[in-house]
């Protein structure tokens, strides 16, 4: 089990962010850190990996002490045995795909493990290519294989799917599931995509302004706790016109327009260009699959 109880104040921006998190992930579980940009997710991941030092706290992985501010213990990141997939893949441009994987091997003779990963991640045809020639999805697949090559004790994934198109994202999500089933690695994924978390994770930590505000199973957090029959969308008023005793407000929502009938007192404070929240109650929605 990985136990994290850390505090750090990030002073880089104008408004300092105080990160204060408690995260416990059982061995072999797939957990996710969910939150908006700037919530402190990546910094938390960097502190767990040792790339950033917390101000106070404790990090342990099973019996292994990684950080303890009271005992003044900080284990060097290179000895923590962490597989880390960066948002930008961080593949070494001077090496081929095979050389990238080989570089990460702890034991250079363990080529059996290397070829197992190449087969599992379907990298056979990419082995002799340099990272610059790969697509975004292929790069992240190689980065994931490279993180696994060192047989890590913990796998940290820092929004590896954020910059991918829907198709590559779905492929890599399947790949992540396959990897998790095969190696049963304790995994912590940073993501702000609810669908992705629902598909991949056993456990989710919701982070807001440096604090964990909710934790539990993704279904409990994202479906049961937030399920209702209302829908709320923000749009911009493009036209207000009188129609008999009522008024018709035209609202632009993304690429489409919606017309809403309103009474006189309801439009008194509204003008063209205002942003408004459009809500619908007890509706009966239809749905069509939009992705391939």
């Amino acid at each position: 089990m990985i136990k994290v109880h850390i505090e750090k104040t990030l002073k880089a921006s104008e408004n300092p962010l105080k990160i204060d998190v408690k995260i416990h992930v059982s061995k072999g579980m797939f957990a996710s850190l969910y939150g908006a940009s700037g919530a402190g997710k990546t910094s938390t991941l960097r502190m767990i990996s040792g790339l950033l030092e917390p101000d106070h706290g404790l990090i342990t992985n099973d019996e292994d002490l990684w950080f303890d501010s009271n005992k003044n213990v900080t284990k060097d990141p290179k000895y923590r045995n962490i597989g880390y997939v960066f948002q930008d893949s961080a593949l070494f441009p001077n090496m081929t795909v095979f050389e990238n994987l080989e570089y990460a091997l702890t034991n250079k003779r363990d080529t059996k493990h290397l070829y197992q990963l190449i087969a599992l991640m379907k990298l056979d045809e990419l082995c002799n290519q340099k990272p610059a020639t790969l697509s975004g999805g292929q790069k992240q697949r190689v980065a994931l294989a490279r993180a696994l090559a060192q047989k890590p004790a913990l796998l940290l994934l820092d929004e590896p799917l954020a910059s991918l198109d829907n198709e590559s994202r779905a492929e890599l999500q399947d790949c992540l599931l396959q990897v998790h089933k095969t190696f049963h690695l304790t995994t912590l994924l940073v993501s702000h995509d609810i669908t992705e978390i629902l598909k991949l994770s056993d456990q989710v930590f919701v982070m807001d302004h440096g604090k964990i505000t909710q934790q539990g199973s993704p279904k409990t957090i994202f479906i049961q706790n937030s399920l209702n029959e209302n829908i709320e969308i923000i749009g911009e008023i493009s036209k207000i016109e009188r129609q008999g005793i009522l008024f018709c407000i035209t609202v632009s929502i993304q690429n489409t327009s919606v017309k809403i009938m309103a009474k006189k007192f309801e439009i008194e404070n509204l003008k063209v260009g205002d942003e408004i929240l459009v809500g619908a109650k007890n509706f009966n929605p239809f749905f069509l699959k939009a992705s391939k």
């Binding site: 990141p77 290179k78 000895y79 880390y84 961080a90 070494f92 990460a104 610059a132």
Partner: protein
């Protein structure tokens, strides 16, 4: 026509560049990584030769290495090293004089690499030296080449420092730039012209090579 000054110039540039590369490498790496409070001070010292008149540097070398001074006499008596008016003295002065031309390109090449490359290698359990030689340096070859070539070319163009600390000893410290000055003073414009032309053509070719190489590596990078 005496070819010694030309040969000596290229000898001095080669030895200086070779030694400077190994001095600048750890220094550039440290500067690219450190958050030490003394970093601005070290950066200022490294950049000083860019703005100081070369004669100032040469003057202080002359004072420091002179056998009449404590440090110079200690070097001479205890280690048997004489640095004033010798080739070795010229090399040391040239190393310091060309330091920013080697350090700046390498430091900026290392700083411009994504931090995630360094982090990824560290998390794979690799040492700083392995990370530097296997990951960082191979990915900033253009900066290394720029540093090497600029230092070489800059050493060829030295005048003030070598005149002050080297004197004008034929075959020992009389490099091409000083030979040109001598020939002009003696009204031998023909010889001065030959030396000048050789320096012009060689530095032009060296710099053209740098820009062509950097253009190629930029294209590779964009591909």
């Amino acid at each position: 026509m005496n070819w010694d000054p030309i040969i000596l110039t290229f000898q001095l540039a080669s030895v200086t560049t070779f030694l400077l590369f190994f001095i600048a490498l750890p220094l550039s790496y440290w500067l690219s990584q450190t958050k030490n409070k003394f970093k601005p001070l070290i950066e200022t010292l490294v950049s000083m030769p860019l703005v100081l008149p070369p004669t100032v540097l040469g003057f202080y070398f002359l004072i420091a290495f002179s056998p009449g001074n404590t440090f110079g006499s200690w070097l001479n008596e205890w280690l048997g090293i004489k640095l004033v008016f010798t080739f070795s003295g010229l090399v040391i002065a040239s190393i310091l004089y060309s330091l920013p031309f080697m350090v700046h390109p390498i430091q900026s090449g290392l700083t411009n690499l994504p931090a995630s490359l360094h982090d990824a290698s560290t998390l794979m359990g690799k040492s700083k030296i392995t990370t530097l030689f296997k990951v960082l340096l191979p990915n900033c070859k253009a900066s290394l080449l720029t540093g090497i070539i600029l230092s070489f070319a800059h050493t060829i163009g030295e005048f003030g420092v070598v005149l002050m600390i080297g004197g004008n000893i034929p075959g020992e410290t009389k490099v091409a730039s000083i030979a040109i000055y001598d020939e002009v003073e003696a009204l031998n414009y023909n010889n001065a012209n030959v030396y000048s032309l050789i320096l012009c053509v060689s530095t032009f070719l060296i710099l053209l090579f740098v820009y062509l190489q950097n253009g190629v590596s930029l294209k590779k990078h964009r591909r």
